[in-house]
């Protein structure tokens, strides 16, 4: 491994030096290895090294059946596990031309938005933590814990729920689901002003994020950024608006767009997105249709020969599933276009010319999940 790193070392002159950040570094939120070339405190060059958590999910999927490979995708972006599963189920349903019951569509959408809330809350807490504010983490986990308890009751699991199955959802919702979700929304609405008081209005936090890590709109497009990262640079790219799936076509919500393109803009976009997620949940929670929660699907799924594609909006951006079928019971080739992999490309233009201390703020505002990059 040492040789591997040495052979790729960035060429440096006398007054510049190389520093390795990661793979075990708290601010990288996982096993991301960055090599920085520094001139004093200024970042002159940056190269990411990946593969520390590469599991070969795409290769493994080729030897698993259509019902089995879905569970691997929970382990890509583990904070958007349900949304990943949803994308896979949607692509299989597209291939089978199966219509999902209305009840399942609404339950899936509700779960997806709760997942987004939980993911953004964790991001908000860890952003504070990265910049030296420890208490936000506990405030964020107060509501997040309620969401995870709702998941546990209905799905039996807190993080990798595996609740989505082709044709609908695994089980019907828990009898307490509606009451608890309403209670959660009520409490979160009452508490969200604390988020602003703790971080948004904090002068230290503002001076560490405003004007830091600028990403221009042109760069964001050229680097194929998506999700809050792209929306903070002024690109309208919300898949839920542009290509609605499941129940998103029947809810009204705003796509949050900022134009500043700095860390603070990305912060505000995510914070506002949480409020929009609550709006979506409120519109759906009282109108969950009655009926089946799952249509019957044959035990062995075989998709007709051809190509299938489905995209969804995870908490971090656009996840695209490209599936090539050869008519057998296993996918011939499956490709996950994960949002974090392309968002990683934005790290370099954001941090070049900045100070090494800003890198932590930039990493926090990108909200990278490394297993989603490595797959």
């Amino acid at each position: 491994m040492e040789q591997h790193i040495e052979s790729h070392i960035i060429q440096s002159s006398d007054d510049e030096f190389i520093i390795n950040v990661g793979p075990q570094h708290p601010s990288t939120h996982g096993v991301l290895h960055l090599q920085l070339k520094l001139d004093g405190e200024k970042i002159v060059d940056l190269r990411p090294f990946l593969g520390y958590i590469h599991r070969g999910i795409e290769k493994m999927s080729e030897s698993l059946t259509y019902k089995q490979f879905i569970y691997l995708t929970s382990r890509m972006d583990y904070l958007s596990a349900h949304i990943n599963n949803q994308a896979c189920c949607l692509v299989i349903e597209k291939g089978l031309q199966t219509e999902v019951p209305e009840r399942a569509k609404v339950i899936r959408t509700l779960m997806a938005e709760l997942t987004r809330l939980a993911s953004h809350q964790l991001w908000w807490g860890s952003t504070g933590l990265d910049m030296g504010a420890v208490s936000p983490f506990f405030y964020a986990f107060r509501e997040r814990e309620m969401i995870l308890e709702i998941f546990e009751e209905t799905c039996g699991s807190r993080l990798t729920m595996n609740y989505c199955v082709p044709g609908g959802v695994m089980n019907d919702i828990h009898p307490d689901f509606v009451r608890k979700v309403k209670q959660l929304i009520k409490q979160f609405r009452e508490n969200i002003h604390e988020y602003d008081e703790l971080l948004t209005g904090n002068p230290i936090f503002q001076s560490r994020t405003q004007g830091i890590g600028y990403l221009s709109k042109e760069d964001a497009i050229a680097l194929s950024c998506s999700g809050p990262v792209a929306r903070a640079s002024g690109i309208s790219c919300d898949v839920r608006k542009k290509n609605p799936y499941d129940a998103y076509d029947r809810v009204s919500f705003d796509e949050i767009i900022a134009t500043e393109g700095d860390c603070f803009a990305r912060y505000r976009v995510r914070l506002e997105e949480m409020k929009q997620s609550m709006n979506i949940i409120e519109q759906l929670i009282d109108n969950i249709p009655t009926g089946e929660y799952r249509t019957k699907i044959k035990g062995i799924i075989k998709l007709p020969v051809g190509e299938y594609y489905q995209r969804v909006e995870t908490a971090r951006g656009e996840l695209g599933v490209y599936l090539v079928s050869d008519g057998s019971n296993k996918p011939y080739r499956i490709k996950f276009r994960t949002p974090n992999f392309s968002n990683l490309g934005a790290l370099k233009p954001m941090s070049l010319g900045g100070k090494i201390g800003d890198l932590v703020a930039i990493m926090a505002s990108l909200d990278l999940i490394i297993p989603d990059i490595d797959r």
Binding site: A222, E307, Y308, Y322, R337
Partner: protein, 159 residues
Amino acid sequence: MSQPVEEAIKKIFPELTLTSWAQFPAIEISRDSLLSACEKLTTHPDLRFDMLVCLTAVDRTPRLEVLYHLRSTTHGHELIVKTELDESQLEIPSVVSFWKAAELFELEVYDMFGITFTGHSDLRRLFMPDDWDGYPLRKSYKASEVADNYLKSHQLLIN
């Protein structure tokens, strides 16, 4: 998806046949004319494909398909560009000069399929170690054999 992009493609690339890939219109471009086609795809006012959403490959032994999923943020239309390569000559020009996102995407395809992108400034194994034999997503790469060989060579196999 929308009609205008298909008509524009027919007008600008009259020699190509328009097919489809999943729900998107698709065109097949030969390796030699890829760069000139990319030039037209990015700059022509009716096309303006400024975003490379995804770059991937499919192993259809003995040929490999390289797929470019393009999107225009100004017009909102999408297109799949397909290039077929023969297994004996896995080389394709890099498109980094058109879309910066290709820098990472091409590394992944090189790592997983062994397709060399000529003109890429920093072509290296991205996920696999540098001295790794074989390209995992090729159909000839049998993961279970690789694992067995690894265990045997490191004397870790029981029985």
